[in-house]
């Protein structure tokens, strides 16, 4: 029987919580929902610690976080998020380019945001993204292309010449 010690838990949390938070933030667009997702994902890690391959803990946490995000999205109490919430919250720390990127990204539909995040931030391959989201690789490719195009258009409307 595997038992995650307090030290191991702290180590796992330190290594992976930020990634899970950023993924959830990209998906939910809500700071508070994202923090809830982090807590839920790690709670599941503790509950299912006996059955998890701890050598691929990050992949497992990403999968759980995505499922939790899906569940939140389907929730009866699904909230309407204000897309400016993150940029307003981060106004002091972000420069214009970063602020424009985040603002534009948050305007994209969720199906594009999550793929863009997994590809650019987590650096997953098409195959890995397809496995995480249970979709075809061709769908990943199509959504990534369309999402990137939409993102560029949104950035242009902000008079940003970033490519």
């Amino acid at each position: 029987m595997i038992t995650i010690t307090k030290e191991e838990l702290c180590s796992f949390y330190e290594q992976h919580s930020s990634s899970i938070y950023r993924l959830a933030l990209s998906y939910t667009r809500s700071i508070h929902d994202a923090e809830d997702i982090v807590q839920q994902a790690f709670t599941k890690l503790l509950i299912y610690q006996d059955t998890i391959d701890l050598s691929n803990i990050k992949g497992w946490l990403i999968k759980v976080a995505i499922n939790e995000c899906h569940n939140l999205n389907k929730s009866f109490w699904k909230s309407k998020c204000y897309i400016g919430e993150i940029t307003e919250h981060m106004a002091q720390q972000l420069d214009k380019e970063e602020n424009d990127l985040l603002t534009s990204l948050m305007k994209l539909p969720q199906k594009y945001r999550i793929i863009i995040h997994l590809y650019y931030y987590e650096e997953l391959s098409y195959r890995e993204i397809a496995e995480q989201l249970n979709i075809k690789e061709s769908t990943v490719s199509m959504r990534l292309t369309r999402g990137r195009d939409k993102l560029k258009k949104l950035l242009k409307t902000l008079n940003n010449d970033y490519q």
Binding site: I4, I31, A34, E35, L46, L108, H117
Partner: protein, 211 residues
């Protein structure tokens, strides 16, 4: 793209990291302690499972009585502490969630007939204390709009759409400076897609952020 994306997201951090970790440590301790108890006293495990089953049944029963096709949503947009008291006596509290102990929002229960009601084959607007037939304005694609500013200087913009079988309303609140505060929705949802009249309504006041 990758560099700027990473740089941007690297700046996003969990604000209440220590609270979450503390909760997880407690949870882990609880789980690990229970493991020991279960392995030495199997009867406790049965008791636990029975309790879990009872709770699950209760939750399922609760879910079953909720009218699942109707979305009654109270969504807070800005996380500032503010007590809103409306003319009809309802109140709403927006709370700063930076305080880990705070909940997102509290409110009185949602009155489905707060703004309109169906009378025979007509949709009647009742939000202003009068009874106005607004049937002609309402359809799957169009809405009736009403706006008022209350004694707290909160502007309420209300949209009513749909037909007599699936009429719904959406109320959006703005503060005295025109800042969007929150919304209250009572909308019939099909296949998790917002009705067209509602999307149009959101767009008309620039609060549409996608489904």
């Amino acid at each position: 793209m990758k560099e700027i994306y990473k740089k941007t997201f690297d700046k996003l951090h969990i604000s209440n990291d220590s609270d979450i970790l503390e909760t997880l440590i407690e949870k882990n301790s609880e789980i690990n302690n229970n493991k020991k108890i279960y392995s030495y006293k199997p009867k406790r495990r049965h008791a636990y499972i029975k309790r879990a089953l009872a709770i699950t049944c209760a939750v399922i029963a609760l879910i079953m009585v909720v009218p699942y096709t109707r979305k009654n949503v109270l969504a807070t947009i800005k996380y500032i502490y503010r007590e809103l008291i409306f003319d009809n006596g309802e109140s709403m509290t927006l709370i700063d969630e930076a305080d880990a102990t705070a909940v997102g929002m509290t409110s009185t229960s949602l009155d489905e007939n707060k703004w309109c009601m169906v009378n025979g084959d007509k949709i009647i607007f009742i939000g202003d204390g009068k009874s106005t037939d607004i049937t002609a304005y309402c359809s799957d694609k169009s809405f009736y709009r009403y706006e008022k500013t209350d004694s707290s200087s909160i502007t309420h913009i209300v949209f009513i759409g749909g037909d007599i079988h699936n009429v719904g309303w959406a109320e959006f609140l703005f503060d005295e400076n025109g800042n969007y505060l929150t919304n209250m929705l009572n909308i019939k949802v099909e296949n998790e897609k917002d009705p067209e009249w509602f999307i149009k309504a959101e767009k008309s006041i620039n609060v549409y952020y996608g489904e």
